[in-house]
Structure formats: C-alpha cells, structure tokens
Symmetry: C2
Subunit: 477 residues, 2 copies
C-alpha cells in the first residue's frame, strides 16, 4: 500500500542558492545597522509604514521579504540600541546576539524538556550565574522572559512552602502577607495580584536612606501576626527602579531567618554589580543568601530581549510548586524522552524557547572581565552625569547617585508643577530630535528626568552631550 | 568640565570586517543545517560536548564562537526539525525564522510598551489571527511564550470579571470552580494551581465520543452552585493533546452564555484547522465565539520557538486584569513614551521580546494558502498513518484519527503490560537510531505510540517508513 506522495510540498525553499543569496543580504543589512547604530536614533514610525505592517498573507519571495524588512522594519527600532539611550532600564543588545540568533533559528529548540543540547547549555548558564550571585551549590533555576515572570515563579514557590496543599486546594481563607520597601518595582505587586494574594496584602515598609527600615518591618510583622495574617515573603531590592538604591541584603537575610520568611531579591538589573568593581560590587553583598533571586540578562548584561532568570536555592521547593508530568510527558530512561530534570517542571511554560544560547555566546565571547568592565563604566557614567548636573546652577539631583541611575530636574528654580511640565517636555523633545533618550519619574511629586545607564555603547562624551542638550532646552533653547 | 573618555570601550566589534566574515560563516553553517536537515536526526549529546558547555567566560573571538557553535551546538538539536519527527506536539521551524531572527537580533526590541515598529507589527499579527479565528472586531490579544502563559492570562481575566476587587483583596474564601472535558491539557491545571484557585476546583466532565457531555456539565454546574461554589470558567478543547479531538465549540458557547461562564478555548495547535481544508476546518467551528483563545504559532504554524498568543474578546476585561502604570512608566502624548496601548498592560511581562517579526515574516512570505495547505497535508498524513497501522494485522489504533494525531499500539495481540513495555521500547529505539520520533501516551492504561504531525517537512513516504520501522521492531527485528 504505497501512498501517493503528491502533496503541497512543505515550506522549505525550493531553490536553496537563491535563499542563501537572500539571507546573505539580510545579514549584511543587519550588520550595517549594528555598525551605524550611532547615526540612527529612535524615530517615529511613519503612518505609511504602519499601514504596510498589515498582514496580507499572500505569499512573497524571501528576496521581497528581505527588502521589506530592511526598508520598513530595521529603521523603526525602539531606540535602546543607540549610545545616547538611557530611558527606563533597557539593555542595548550585543553583536553576539546576531551570531546566536542565526544558530538558534535553525536549531528551533523547545527547551521545555527532553534530552538535547540547549537544555544542557541552559544548566551551564544558570550554574555560572548562581556562582556569581554566591548562591549555594545545588541551587536551581530556570530562564524566563524576564524578572516579572521570575517574580511570579519565586512567589509561588514561597507560597507553596507555607501552604503545601495549595496546588490542590487553592489558597482559601488564609491571609498571606508580603513585605517590601516603599518604591519596590511593580513586578512584585503584579505577581501578588496574579497569584490571587492581593496587592493589599503587600506591606510597603518605609525606607531610611534608601533602605528598608528593619525596625519598622519587625513592628509590622508583629502587628500582622497579631491580626491573624500569615507573613510568608520578604522582597529585597538590589537596584531600585527609581533611584538604583539597594536594601541591606545581609540585614534582610538575617531577619528573614529569624522571622521564618522566604527572602526574594529583585535584582532585575542591580544584581549584576556582583561582577563590577568596587564600590559598586558591595552594593549587592548578601544577595546569595536569598531564597530566590529574579534578574535579567537583557538589561545590564546587554543580551537581546527577552531573557531573565529565577534562581531558587531550594530545588525541592521549586519543584514542589510546578512539577507535573501527565502521561503524554512521561520521561524515559533513554532516547529523546530522557534528559531529566525537565525545565517545564520549574515554571509555567511547557514549550520554551532557547534563551541559553544567546547568554552563553555573550558570556563566552566577551568574558566576565569585559562585561564587568562595561557595568563598572555605566556606574562611572552615572557619576559623570551627576557631576554635569551639579555643575549647572539650575539643575538639581533628586538624590545622590548610588549605582547607574541618575534622576534630576532641569530647573530647580521653578515651581514644582512648572518643573514637571518642563522636564516632561524636555524628555519628549530630546527623544524626537534623536539627541538623547531620558525617561521620567516622579520624585516628591515632581516629574524629573531619569537616566538608567545600562548601555555599553555610551561614552562620557555622550553623557556630556545629553546634559548639554537638556540645559539648552531648559533655557528655552 | 570635559570628562576623561578613557573607559573599557564597550562591547561592539573593534574590527567590523572581521566580524562580518565571522557572521557570514555562521550564516552558511546555519543554512547548511536547514538544507541538510533530513540527514541529521536527533542524536544524544556526547559527554565531552556537554562538559564543553560549561561557562568559562574568559572571552573568545567571534571566529572561535562560530566554530564552537557549528561543531558543538548545531548538531545537538531536539530533533523536531527532522521530517520524521512526530513526538509530543512540536513545530518544525521555518526558513523564514532565519531571516526574521537576524533582523530581530539587531533591532533588539523591548515590546513591553512605547512607540516603535515591533509593537505596531504585533498588533497587525494579532488582528490577522483574530480575523482567522472569527473573533469580533475590537477583540484584543498579546503574544506570549506559549499556550501555558496564554492560559494563565485568560483565566486571570475571567477571574477578575467575577471578582472585580481581586487584584487588591486576593481571592479570599470565595470558592471558584472551573469546568473542562476529561483529557484537558495540563496547562489548564497548572494555571489554576498558579492562580491559587486550586486543581481540586477543576471539574473534569466526562466525554461522549471525544466531546464534553453537556448534560453532565449542566448537572455538575447545578450541584456546585447548590454547594455554594461560584462557577466562573468553562474550558473547551480545540485539539486534545492525546487524540486531537475537538469539543462542540458552538455547543459550549451556547451553554456558556446560558450559564454566564467565561468560555476559554485551548487551541494550542488545533485552532489552526481554521485555515485548513474541509473536513478539518469544521472541527474548530465556533471557536470565535469564545471569550478567550490560547494558541501557538510554534506548533502548527511551524514558526520558531517560543511564540504563542492569547486572544480576549473583551479588551476592557483584559486590561482590567493587568494594566498598571507606576510613575516610571507614565505614557506621554508624543516621543518614545507614546504608542498607547502598551502590551505590558495586557499580561505579566513588562519587558517583552519581539515575537511579532518571525510570525509576520512567515505569514507574509509563505502566505495563508501555503500554510493552510501544510496543515491540511498534516491531517492527511495522520490518515495515511492510520491506514498503514490498520493494514498491519497486529497493530491497532487507539481511536479513529480526527485531525493530525495518530495513537496506536504496535502489538495488539500482547497482554496490556507487555504492550506498554514494547511500545516504550520501540519509541526509544527509533529515537536512538534516528529512524523516526514517536512519543508515547497512555490510553486505557496501555502505553501507546503517539504521532502528532505538526511538521511541514513530512511526506507520505516518511510516514510509511516510520510505520515500517515500528513493524520491524514489533516483530523483534
């Protein structure tokens, strides 16, 4: 019974030499973009280009696709690859991402499980990071899209630790409470909402000089316990989003032990001062004593989006919160269904992409020394920016620069509301002119300019030019 | 005050021509892999190669990295790119992923928000999919890593609909119940666990001929309401994981309306019969009437991992479950902080990679007709496999083939336990020999061979060869 093999023929190229020529053209255009990145800041997407993104799905040659992508896609990036981009906290990307991206596209790994290279590489990358963070051997982890996901996974592990039947029964009427310093990143709040714990059950502990007030925290814990709540989670900051400050992580670790709390550290960008020079390295001292750490590679390790990691010291607790193997996912001793443990047992996703290869390529190609030097540079540049701000009579820092974040107002001499209007206006105008990208945040009610420098392409001259441009606009220029 | 510009110099290549040469070498090796994919099935990673993945982070040339990746990474893929791979439900990848992957690497978009090209493209891709699914105009969506994430997001939106204060207060003592057919994918169970609702509050409704028994469902709903529970969610299957069966989605939509339930459809792979020929297209009839749909592009649309989508008909309900803008994320009228709505307001992730470009490139390059034809082919091939099984006296199908999934035992004449041992052994041996990849599942307590054909590279001759290899091993060959 030989079947007729006439079918649609699949989707691979019919003419491979033609496809090679097209792909080569895409590669050259991609490298051109990288090489000339300083000349092409963010620009708004023209309406005609937006309209052209509308899906027709009629079928086109690879050659036409390369032309369309080169003309209508590459130029309209989000600006974060440019040397004068310091908005929000966004990494600038690496040339190694292009190398890794090609290989990853043709490997097309599903890293949810099974026995293949990408999973072994993921373990290697996680273990290196664990060591750098100072977490004990045997600690576990899983690569995720970013710190938001990492936070959800860590909090769920923390919750299952105190409510072992939670996966079956749900949380029910138990009132769990969590603790973090005022100014904690919204990822913590969103995770508590998602898990059904509720944002009202997060206690925002006042800060003293940018760090959680441990005495106030102890009082709050005692009050909550007296009121019948079950405190389960303490969230420390390694690099706060507004000002780049760090909690006293050793102090938090001691307190978490005393109070039997799960200590999670939000180290989205700030964890990486672990590989910087002093005095910045010490900021993250104690981070390895946490029960869990959330961090990103796509911010201060500059690796392409998206790419984060949750590290969990207790593998058993991590597994207890997520592992599940229905019959269609049973493991085997040998063959493709081997390779235990499977990463799907450590998180939400069953299908998972290959994030390990771009991290591994970056770590191996640049090396820890060069990556650490770039991070150190970024901290120094935040200091350069602070000096440039302080040298201008009308500008004022919101707070001393601690790490890589510099927040300031362009005209301290104006009334608060006028400052807010002016600073917002300056941020928008400099984005539009392509001169520099600052974002904004509110400090003591005033909208201020904010630079978070996680950009290996920035030089001191870029910083000086950025502040000069702010000064010009601040004086109506 | 001119600052000294002496720093570590950043991480971009010093010699761009050298980098171009290295990158070109990576591209040629990557295309070689695609072109010769049929000759290179899955193989186990040698211990020496695994050891070589250990991170040294000493710094290496791009040239060395390309050599290492070519020798030690490309060959150890997960097998799913091979034409005789039908294990689990894994997509086979596309040549267009390589084009899109290069561009995406140098754009390095963070699609969490702001005003740039990748976000407009994501909206275009979502809107095309919405139309294909038959969801009403104005329906919303967000690209995610896969159906597991999509399920979590949809369920949370469904929960906030019935408990509007949930984000603040948590779920508390309210007992929410959810309903799905027996055999629902584990993603539904894991989502209910994660959200703190609890797997015990999922009612598994018996199936009649592969579809949820609606009368039994109504009885269960009445009993739960009488017992004080709050039913909130009905989960339909469009392509069950074990057998590729479909619920009566129109029947579920009618019932959901009557009973005021949120209807979510798990269409991870099966939603895509929407663009296949009849009779397969009709299987997913009614899917557009759901409140939410979870589906993947990385399975039956063959796009590279990871790449899924949640569609939610009610944008307001979607936004109500996730939107949040702390001061450091305030939107602006113009500049980079424009571009509302931001995707971070529709899901868990604040930082998000660029999944739209690889989908868009695939849709535009291959077109709906060719993608639909490949899906149709896959269904036909499942039928070819079923015929080949039925033509062998000792082989037996677990159930009639409905879509692209074919489950069978190699020796129906053996006792159940002996069948389980033999089928497992055959799956592992064929994986190791590289002849074909089946996975296994349990049907009526027996481990059986399972093929889920989501592979545009498979031809009928591959299917015949795969079954012949099973037959040989089943007879001790």
């Amino acid at each position: 019974m030989v079947e007729n093999d006439s079918d649609s023929g699949g989707l691979d190229p019919v003419d491979w030499e033609e496809f090679r020529a097209d792909a080569r053209r895409m590669l050259e255009a991609s490298i051109d973009q990288l090489q000339q990145v300083a000349e092409h800041p963010w620009q708004q997407v023209p309406e005609t280009v937006k309209a052209g993104y509308g899906v027709q799905a009629l079928g086109q040659s690879a050659a036409d696709m390369v032309t369309r992508i080169t003309q209508d896609v590459l130029p309209y990036h989000g600006g974060n690859i440019h040397p004068k981009f310091w908005g929000w906290v966004q990494g600038s990307g690496l040339a190694s991402d292009l190398i890794a991206g090609m290989a990853a596209a043709v490997i097309n790994a599903n890293t949810g499980g099974r026995d293949h290279g990408a999973n072994y590489m993921e373990r290697a990358v996680i273990d290196w990071t664990r060591q750098k963070m100072g977490m004990p051997e045997g600690s576990n982890g899983v690569l995720v899209s970013g710190t938001s996901q990492a936070t959800v996974i860590a909090f769920q592990a923390a919750r299952v630790r105190v409510l072992p039947e939670l996966r079956k029964t749900g949380q029910g009427a138990v009132r769990l409470t969590a603790y973090a310093g005022a100014g904690i990143h919204n990822a913590t709040i969103k995770a508590l909402e998602l898990l059904g714990i509720g944002a009202n059950n997060l206690r925002l502990v006042p800060l003293v000089e940018g760090q959680m007030d441990l005495a106030a925290l102890r009082r709050q814990l005692a009050a909550d316990r007296a009121a019948g709540a079950l405190p389960f989670l303490l969230v420390g900051m390694a690099g706060s989003v507004d000002l780049g400050t760090y909690d006293d992580l050793n102090g938090l670790a001691d307190l978490a032990k005393d109070e039997d709390l799960w200590l999670h550290v939000d180290g989205a960008f700030g964890a990486w001062t672990r590989i910087a020079e002093e005095p910045w390295r010490s900021l993250s001292d104690g981070i390895g004593r946490a029960h869990s750490i959330a961090l990103d590679f796509h911010k201060w390790m500059y690796v392409g989006y998206d790419c984060g990691l949750v590290l969990i010291a207790d593998e058993v607790a991590h597994r207890a919160a997520f592992a599940a193997r229905p019959s269609y996912l049973e493991a085997a001793e040998r063959g493709l269904a081997g390779g235990d443990p499977w990463f799907c047992d450590y998180g939400i996703d069953l299908s998972r992409g290959n994030r390990a290869l771009k991290i591994w390529t970056a770590l191996e190609m640049y090396g820890e020394a060069a990556l650490g030097a770039a991070i150190t540079d970024n901290c120094r540049l935040a200091g350069v920016m602070a000096q440039a701000v302080e040298a201008r009579p009308d500008m004022r820092l919101a707070a001393p620069v601690v790490s890589n974040v510099c927040v300031f107002t362009a005209r301290d001499d104006l009334a608060p509301e006028a400052q807010s209007v002016l600073n917002s206006e300056i941020a928008q105008s400099l984005q539009e002119s392509g001169e520099a990208v600052f974002s904004t945040t509110r400090v003591r009610g005033v909208v201020m300019l904010r630079a978070a420098i996680t950009n290996h392409r920035s030089r001191a001259s870029d910083i000086q030019a950025g502040i000069a441009a702010v000064a010009r606009l601040a004086q109506g220029g």
